[in-house]
Structure formats: C-alpha cells, structure tokens
Amino acid sequence: MHPFFQLLKKIIQTGIGKSRLLMATAGLGIAMVLLLIAIQAHTNFNQLLYGRQNQNESADFLVVNKKITNAMMGQSDKSMFTAEELQTIKQQSFVEAAGYITSSQFKVTAAAPGELQFYTDMFFESVPDSFIDVKNEEWKWQEGDEVIPIILPNDFLNLYNFGFALSQDLPQVSQETVKNLPVKITVSRGLLSSQFTGHIVGFSDRISSFLVPAAFMDWANNRYGNGKAAAPSRIVIKTSDPANPALVKFLDDHGYTTNQDKIKYSKTKLIVQTIVSVIGFFGIVLLLFALLVFSMFIQLIIASCKKEIRLLVMLGTAPAQLRRYLLRQFVPLYVITGIVAVLLVAVLQWVAARALAAHEMVISPWPGIGMWIAAVVVLLLVYFVNNRTIRKYLD
C-alpha cells in the first residue's frame, strides 16, 4: 500500500462501525445471491422449455378457433372471426403474424388412381403463403395450371396407415409414395365442375387441414363459391413463445381455443415466473438496504473524522486522494462478496444440472451470461453509489 494511505489509515479510523459494515456486506452478499439465482433460474427454465421443443424453429404456429358450445350449434356464423377480431389479435405483442384460414365454398372430391380404390368427399383450406413450412418451388398455382399442390396433415397419413389401411386390408403407404401419387381432384358446384390433378408436396404438423395455395383458393371460391365472401372460422398465429401466459390469457378471455398441447407449458411458466420474480424482488429490496447501510456507514466515517479530514485537506491532501483511500476500504469487500456470490451460484447451478440430468433434463452446468452480467452490474452499481456518497460527504 502507498505509505500515505498507511498514514491515512491511522487518521481516518474505518473500524468504527465494524458490525454495521459486516451487516451491510452480508446483506449485499445475500442480495446478490438471490438476484443471481433468480436470473439463473429464469435462464434454466427457458433452456428447459425451448431447448427440447423447438430446436430448429424460432417461432411456433397456433391455429386458433372459437370454442364451439352447444348454444352455438347450427349457427356457424357465431364461430366466424370478423376483420376487427383479426386486427385485435394482430395487435397483441406476442403475435408476430396472424392470418385467416380460408375454407373452400365448393364441393371437392378426391379419387386415388389405379387400384387404390379410394374416393372421398373432402375440403380444402388455405393460409397466407408465409405460414407454410413446406417451402419449395412446387408451392404455387396460377390460373390454367392443371396441377394443384396440396399439403396434408401428418396426422392424416398416420390415421390412414395405422387405422384405416390395416383394418381394411389396404396397403400402407410412405410419405414418398404419397408424394408421387397423382390424385384426381374434382371441384364442383351444382353442374359446374373442373378436374385437376392433386399433387401432395408435403406434410405439415402445424396446421391440421388440407392446404392448397391461396391463389387457387381465391380463384376456386370465386368461380365455384356461393358468391359471398365467407368469414373464416380459424386463424393461424405465428408466435415466438406459445407458452407465454399472456397469450393463453388472451385466448381464454376471448373464448378462443387452440392446440392445448402447445400451450401446456404456460401454467408452469407462470408459476416459475412468479417465484423467480418474488426472489428477484427480495434480492433487489435487500440490495437497496445494503446500499443504504453502506452509504450510512460511509457517512458515519466521514462525520466522525470531520476534523481530521479538514486538517488533511488544509495540509494539501487532494480530494481525489481521500476518495481513493476511502473507496479502497470498501471495494475489496464488494469484490470478494461478489466473487463468493458468483461461486455459490455456480456451484448451485452445477448441482442442479447434475440433479436434472438424472431426470433427462438438460441444462448448462455453467451459469448463463445473464448471471455474469447481473453480477458485474450489481458491483458497478455498488461502486457507483459509494463513490457518489463519498464525493457528496467529503465536500
């Protein structure tokens, strides 16, 4: 240590409120641990939630419809979405994009070629092209095209293969085979009809429906529809976080419903968020108190050495020298406190990672970047507040 500071140590006694300083330090330590745990728990939970679910996608899609209740049966207009409703949905912060699912207003029949004796009435729906996850060249249609690209729900193929085909003694088919099957599609209304070849271009998990390009749907609805623009009864939403409690609350409030599987995490998330927030809140309150006690301690030291400080300044001690000396009494204390808190959280994280690994849940054994940033921010905050206090009371 600089010899001048050694002499200052004898003049400015910092041992005066040792117990108070100890309490402030302990408070700071506990506050930091709570805050860091809260942040780390948040990181871990996010990792658990999104690490497994959507590994390749940054967004998820929800198909939303109004709940069909007994009172609504037979009144299909009650399950329709108006333009205003779609607008309201689009304005929600958790909705990245939203679009109508347009359903066909004409009769559709499909027949499989050759020996597959397959003939069925069916329907089509379409969504804006940006919602389609089968992105390829084939996904387009324009007037005059003979071939209609179609996307089937994965579930549909499964139902056929494992339910229908086995029981009816029909051959099971692979996705590739289906893609190569030209399906005869007849679109009609009354006596008016057209023939197309349906070409399966992909399978989707997102939207459980038979999808055709929006261009075809518009054309066909126009030509074979009943002339009225029908209000759609399903809406597709693109969201980055289907477990967002705000999203679930919004759907509940408006009587909408969606694939419950996708939003099942929202309750867990809500509970974890609450617990984490409470811990974080206590951490912040405790941090504020620790800062207050630190400031009072500094004030006490300066007040108790007022005469000595005045004489030191009179003899030529620079204010910066006094400030540096006083900070030197505290800074090592916080740095050590900070390191201990970080180490403790790191150990907890490691233990938690091992414990969760036993249940096949993977979290990083190291604390996340958020925790490190928080630790540095807290230390900087303490330094800044103390520096200000010293500056204020020295003058």
Binding site: H2, P3, F4, L7, K10, I11, E308, L311, V313, M314, L315, G316, T317, A318, P319, A320, Q321
Partner: protein
Amino acid sequence: MQIQLSHLVPLPLRDKLLQRVSDIWNKEVTFSPGSFIKIKAPSGTGKTTLVHYLYHIRYDYSGKILVNGKPWQDYNKPALAAIRQQQVSIIFQDLRLFDQLTAWENIELKRVMGPSPACTPEQVQEMAARLQVTHVLQQSARTLSYGERQRIAIIRALVQPFQWLLMDEPFSHLDEENTRRAAALIAETCKAQQAGFVLTDLDDDVHFNYNVQYQL
C-alpha cells in the same frame, strides 16, 4: 510563484484597521519569488488572519490575493491541493499536528503526500538531529511538549517541495539556542529549494537576513 495583495482588508477588522497606517492592509503589495519577508505586527492587527489569507483557508476579506496573477478563488480544490503539496508550505501558529500519529509519522505524512518528496527519510533524521528532537520521533504527538511539537511542525513544513514558506510565529516556544538552529535550518532549506518565506512575528528579530520588512 508571485503573490500579489491588492487592497486586501479583513472584513471583521475593517473599521479598526483603516484607522491605522499599515504596509500591507489596503495596499498594493507584491511578494517576489525567493524573498525573505518579515511582517511585524502587534497583537490583534490580523497577523494570523493574514497568514490564513495567504494560505487560502480564510476568505473573509475585501480586495484580492493574486497567485501567479490569478485570484485564489479561481483555483479549484485539486489545484489548491497541488499547490499545497508542491509550492506553498506552512507552519501554523497553533502547529496542527495529528495527535493520533507519532512525531515521525506527522512529518512523514507531509513528505509522502505529494508525488515527489523533497527529501529522503535520512535527511529527515538529520533535520531532527539538528533540532534535537530525535529522541521524541517515535512518540505520539500528543505526549510532546509545545516546544517539541513546534520543532516537529517546522520539520514537517520543510520536507515537501515549496516555493513559499508561510510561518506564523514559528519560534514562539523555543529557547534562544533552538531558535537559532531552527532559523539556520529554515534558511538553508529555503536557499536549497530557491524558495522565499513570509514570517510574521510580534517583535523585531535578527534570525534571518530579511530582504523586506513590513509593519502590519
């Protein structure tokens, strides 16, 4: 470093002082660098007040004190500290040592306060030996006699670099022999540092070869 006084009058003594003739108060005075200046003053004419004005720890005056052409008020705290560490040293009339430090530490405090000490610890020991206070160096300043404290204060003022030394009755509690030794040490150190001093006292004396003498 030049010090100029311009119509300096202490506000509390204003009426009293304006009735008497003074070489300093309400005059234009310039202290040129390196001069040995004696200011003689009867009690109650503002001797200590003047020293405190010159050291800028009292400010209740009218007129101006210009240091290198700039009034004291224009110097901020860090600049003032730098001046007190490197250009202006002082021996207070009431000494102002730290009771919680030893005599040695009191001297050391001033020696290591600035960026460049003016002398080594060995030189401090030498000075202490010359003023016959070696035996009290390790004692707490609290336990020293006033004469010993005065000599410690003198040494403390000499261990830093300075261009001006302000002294307020520096020998008031020293016998003739010690006064002679102290004056010789101060004169030598000032010469070595090419510094001047301002000394205030009640009576005439022959301790130094003064360049200028003023009557306050």
